[in-house]
């Protein structure tokens, strides 16, 4: 199992699409590591600087419908090669969400209120997250505060995370 914890990259916008996560022109790469330096290079977000802002971040916190658009698994791969193995959002596009779990990486959905409170309480400080997949709980920490939040995830998605992804699961069962 990968590690699902670390510093938060806040992406305070809804509908961030897969072309913004990794532009189509890099789909000609056949090594995942080649995607590393292009993550979010076309992201439309005020004040965002991919070179500065991605560094040493391991968890994304974002809004609604993250990962909409193309089916490219290059989107979760581009996160993975940047050591970002966890995305927390209000909702995800279906294919992106499934691609994350298929790669053994959680895409955790929280309510609008929970997401609002994370942005409100932690966006302007340096914060980090850790996840307890068994207890379905995330812990967010900054210098001044600690917050715990429960989330829901299906048993099947849990099994995918535990075993490392869909290829491993399918291999065992079908």
């Amino acid at each position: 199992m990968k590690e699902f914890k670390g510093n938060i990259l806040f992406l305070d916008r809804s509908d961030i699409n897969t072309d913004e996560i990794i532009p189509a022109k890099y789909l000609t790469e056949i090594e995942k590591t080649a995607l590393k330096q292009h993550l979010f290079e076309d992201l439309k977000l005020d004040g965002f600087n991919p070179e500065m802002d991605i560094k040493e971040k391991a968890v994304i916190v974002t809004r609604e419908n993250f990962g909409c658009g193309s089916s490219r698994e290059h989107a979760p791969w581009a996160l993975e090669v940047n050591n970002i193995n966890l995305v927390i959002g209000q909702s995800f596009a279906r294919i992106f969400r499934q691609n994350m779990f298929n790669c053994g990486m959680p895409a955790i959905e929280l309510s609008k209120d929970q997401i609002d409170s994370i942005f409100k309480g932690f966006k302007n400080s340096s914060a980090n997250v850790s996840v307890d997949m068994e207890a379905c709980q995330i812990t967010i920490q900054s210098k001044d505060q600690t917050k715990k939040m429960d989330f829901q995830i299906s048993e099947f998605d849990k099994a995918l995370i535990k075993i490392g992804g869909w290829v491993e699961y399918a291999d065992m069962h079908y």
């Binding site: 809804s14 509908d15 699409n17 072309d19 913004e20 532009p23 189509a24 022109k25 789909l27 000609t28 790469e29 056949i30 995942k32 076309d42 439309k44 609604e64 419908n65 909409c68 658009g69 193309s70 089916s71 490219r72 698994e73 979760p76 909702s91 596009a93 279906r94 294919i95 499934q98 691609n99 298929n102 790669c103 299906s154 048993e155 099947f156 998605d157 099994a159 992804g165 869909w166 290829v167 399918a170 291999d171 069962h173 079908y174």
Partner: protein, 431 residues
């Protein structure tokens, strides 16, 4: 309780329901192209599992960048080509025979009502036009599909969209789907299957239905399904005539995959398109939609007619009708890409290609190319395209470029004018 189309298809394809959370479905088709499949092939090889579940159910094409534009795309083609040969995948379409996957595979008769189809391409929902459950997936789902012939889906909820009324002339399936996306929003049908019904859909031919189903994903839908009917049978007849005695027999068999009258829908929406005008997008989201009449005069640099949305014969016919006798504005780069060799060839026979060339359009071979900014018409920083494609995301056709999505008629008219413009085929209802 009655069932929706998706529920009927799930029921007939169910292999497993792990933890009761998801449905593992048996696949009738796994479609492959050279952008998302090579990584799956390489991973299978690395795992020592370089096998395919059924070479006859796998169909492959090199379409996104063809001819190869550089060493990397050449390598992607090579990996797919060698894999297809190695596993005796006889339906593999390479240059000379290749075309945009979601136009080529239906044209080859690979889709049937009631099929479950996956492909590593979000516009796989196009095949829902035939009454199939067709969904775009990522590379891992594709990899397991290739190896085991199964894929997981959450039990879908169905969003029934009834499209009714009487369409004005010069308003097309593209305008209707832009209207649907505008009304639903880019997240409006996430994790849902759309069933497109209503008299307007009933009256559509298969090319038009494919345009409609193609952009269901732009509203977040898993698949966009049209009800199989005699139009579906007629399109498929040349491929199924050995299986059924008469078209009526085929219709009877396909009708199993029509929804029950008492099916339960998560949502129902009726859209009357009688007053619909030609539409186009503004901004970087496919639900940023306005009437063309409110976008008149928007300067453009390039017009692109093609793609899995609008590169079929009927699309080219309509654009040619607008272009006939005109030349495009001198500062416009016009590019048309017939979606398959058959469409190209028919367009040649009908004089459509000559009309495009006489008007100043460049005609390219069938490929996805410009639609996703990979080849054959990438925009420069600050440039604007009028395009018959499906996505207007920032950077989609080239970094710093802007894309306005529209019908082939509107795109052709805009090419002539040099700015966004309604076509002379558009006449408002009752005026």
């Amino acid at each position: 309780m009655g069932k929706t189309i998706a529920e009927k298809i799930f029921e007939t394809h169910l292999v497993d329901e792990p933890f009761g959370d998801v449905s593992v479905l048996k696949l009738d088709r796994v479609f492959c192209h050279e952008i998302t499949t090579p990584m799956a092939i390489q991973d299978l090889m690395a795992r020592g599992k370089d096998r395919v579940f059924d070479p006859d159910k796998i169909k492959a094409v090199i379409d996104h960048v063809s001819p190869a534009k550089d060493s990397k795309t050449a390598q992607q083609g090579k990996i797919l080509r060698e894999w297809a040969i190695r596993h005796k995948i006889k339906d593999f379409f390479d240059i000379g025979y290749n075309g945009v996957c979601h136009a080529l595979f239906p044209e080859k008769g690979f889709v049937r009502p009631g099929f479950v189809i996956i492909m590593g391409d979000s516009h796989t929902c196009t095949h829902g036009a035939f009454g199939a459950f067709a969904a775009g997936v990522g590379t891992t789902d594709l990899e397991v599909g290739i190896l085991k012939g199964v894929c997981t889906f959450k039990t879908p909820q169905t969003y029934k969209i009834e499209i009714v009324g009487e369409l004005s002339c010069g308003v097309y399936a593209k305008d209707i789907i832009l209207k649907v996306i505008k009304d639903l929003g880019v997240n409006g049908a996430t994790n849902m299957v759309i069933e497109f019904t209503g008299n307007i859909v009933d009256e559509m031919n298969m090319d038009q239905r494919m345009t409609l189903s193609n952009m269901a994903v732009e509203a977040g839908a898993t698949s966009g399904i049209c009800l199989p009917d005699m139009t579906t049978v007629d399109y498929l007849w040349e491929f199924i005539k050995d299986q059924y005695k008469t078209p009526q027999d085929a219709l009877k068999a396909f009708s199993k995959f029509r929804p029950d009258p008492d099916a339960e829908y998560a949502k129902v929406k009726t859209i009357d398109v009688s007053d619909l005008e030609p539409l186009t997008t503004f901004g970087y989201r496919p639900d940023n939609v306005k009437p063309v009449s409110q976008m008149l005069g928007t300067k453009i640099n390039q017009v692109y007619i093609g793609s899995c949305t609008n590169g079929r014969l009927e699309d080219l016919r309509i654009a040619a009708k607008v272009l006939k006798g005109h030349t495009i504005s001198p500062h416009i780069r016009g590019i048309v890409s017939p979606a398959t060799p058959k469409i190209f060839s028919q367009a040649l026979e009908e004089g459509i290609i000559k009309t495009f060339m006489d008007s100043g359009f460049c005609v390219t071979n069938p490929t996805c190319g410009a639609c996703l900014g990979m080849s054959n018409g990438v925009l420069a920083q600050g440039e604007v395209a009028a395009s018959t494609t499906n996505r207007n995301f920032a950077g989609r056709m080239g970094k710093g470029g802007m894309v306005h999505l529209m019908s082939p008629a509107t795109a052709a008219a805009s090419a002539i004018k040099g700015e966004i413009s309604n076509s002379n085929l558009f006449c408002e209802q009752g005026k």
